[in-house]
Amino acid sequence: MADGAIAARFRLAYSGFTLDVDLELPGRGVTALFGPSGSGKSTALRCMAGLARAPDGLLKIGSDVWQDEAHGVFVPTHRRALGMVFQDASLFSHLTVKGNLDYGMTRARVTAAEAGRDALCEMLDIAALAARWPDTLSGGERQRVAIARALLTRPQLLLMDEPLASLDVARRLDVLPYLERLRDELDIPIIYVSHAPEEVTRIADEAVVLDRGRVVARGAPLDVLPSASRLVEGGRFGVVNALKARVVAVDDAYGVTRLAHPAGEILIAARLTTQREARVVMRATDVALAMSEPRDTSVRTILRGRIEKIDATESALAFVTLTLVGGDRLVSAITRLALDELRLTVGADVFVLVKSVALDERGL
């Protein structure tokens, strides 16, 4: 979509709150709608899909008007060029995987070649599943088929409603890399509803934070999530940083790989023999801060940065946003006690100790 920004305005009473949002969303990239359950994020998504109807709603996708109640316009769901992925995949149990994939594609009058079917199935690793029945698939496979099924209609907009929430942690890690690959390869906007900060920080370009039906913050995930993560249970543990770094050397004897980053060397406990670049992830709670360079510590990854912002929550934790040497940003979660005792302030130069660095499952 060209300059196709999305304009969405919905006001709708639901389960005790009133959803009241007025959003301009970018015409590409992943925008996350983040918030606790009952915040209205799924309802907002359903309004975009046309599955719920806000009485005075407005929805424009680029030059297309899907809803403009002031002028009596409401395009029903099946005439909207959108794809939707539900939390529970919602594959049709009476059709095979191939039947499910064909269902939307034929109705959207898209040929397999136009939809890039083979490449898409390859990318999502579902090419071998064509003849299988949905109830024989794993949760992760089901979700990948559902994603392919939605994309094969060549939608102008992809809506994802907590696509990983029904999966266990291991399956989630299975699917996450595919979502990241989609984000990088699709040129349509993706609206991604989630209450998991980890998914949002890893996948989204922008996060819109909803609480009780209203937008309370929006911006880059690392800017808004540290303070917004308190809205969801366990959310403060879910803020995750992602950095790109260059592979320098693989130490076969110790089974580790050294990566170069402008802020310092990153050590990862794995052999990365096939990659020249890697994307690594580190939880905010695994990132510690020190005012002077620690000499005798087991932590091998020590980066340099400057404190840009401090969000002290009401709980024991504070989120410290850092600008690393080289410009990347990183969030550290430390106790408020440590914050005060070390007298950390905005602008201070600090050493950033990363206890555990995980490789993003996806190569670059």
């Binding site: 899909a49 046309g50 599955l51 029903p76 769901t77 099946h78 005439r79 959108l82 794809g83 939707m84 539900f86 529970d88 919602s90 049709f92 149990s93 009476h94 269902y103 939307g104 109705r107 959207a108 099924r149 939605a150 209609t153 809506l159």
Partner: protein, 224 residues
């Protein structure tokens, strides 16, 4: 041994049950769909009306149907106006009566199947460009298939087993309204126990086989 009289009654019974089952699936499908998905206040009253034959004595149902179809009833006036024969004591009258009598056995399994599937499959179909009618035929009906099969079996079997309503509406006219259950009654009345045995035993076997098929399918079936 069964006589030609018996075979005529069996043929008539099967013909009645087949026609009624077919019509009930046509009527009951959309009715079940509406009952499963509506939020209208009519859902309760209409659902109760559909279920009435489950609890009413067949004589009550038959009595009112007889009045409705009689010369002073609305259906009777309609048939008179159209210039066709009055419905009571005809095969057509039996079909109409059986439609009411077996309605809940067809509507309820289908309605349950539609309700159990929920909105999600239809929403998914809509996001894949299927119109509501398209989604009904390509998603809702196939997913409700176990309910449809149950409905057809129960509707058929229940119509075969009908007695009281038939007697009230149709009497026992050979080749027109004398179905198996009525013939058995006639034989017993005339003390022809041996002839009654053939038919009664046959009904027993038939009903057992139908129910066995139904419950066996439920246990082993792919869709339960």
């Amino acid at each position: 041994m069964p006589t030609s009289e018996d075979f005529a009654a069996i043929w008539l019974t099967l013909k009645l049950a087949t026609i009624v089952t077919f019509l009930l699936l046509l009527i009951g499908g959309p009715l079940a769909w509406w009952l499963a998905r509506t939020h209208s206040w009519l859902k309760g009253p209409l659902g109760a009306v559909v279920a009435l034959p489950l609890v009413l004595p067949p004589t009550v149902l038959g009595f009112y149907l007889l009045l409705t179809m009689g010369p002073h009833g609305p259906l009777g006036r309609l048939t008179a106006f159209l210039g066709v024969a009055p419905l009571p004591f005809t095969f057509a009258g039996l079909v109409v009566a059986s439609l009411f009598y077996s309605l809940p056995f067809v509507v309820q399994p289908i309605q349950n199947a539609f309700e159990a599937m929920g909105d999600r499959p239809l929403e998914a179909a809509a996001t894949l460009r299927a119109s509501p009618l398209d989604a009904f035929f390509t998603v809702a009906l196939p997913l409700a298939r176990p309910g449809l099969v149950t409905a057809a079996i129960l509707g058929f079997a229940h119509t075969v087993g009908e007695f009281g309503v038939v007697l009230m509406i149709g009497g026992a006219i050979p080749d027109k309204t004398r179905v198996v259950s009525v013939l058995i009654y006639d034989q017993v009345e005339s003390m022809n126990y041996e002839r009654a045995h053939w038919l009664a035993g046959g009904m027993l076997l038939f009903s057992f086989c139908v129910l066995l098929a139904l419950y066996g399918r439920r246990r082993n079936g792919r869709y339960g």
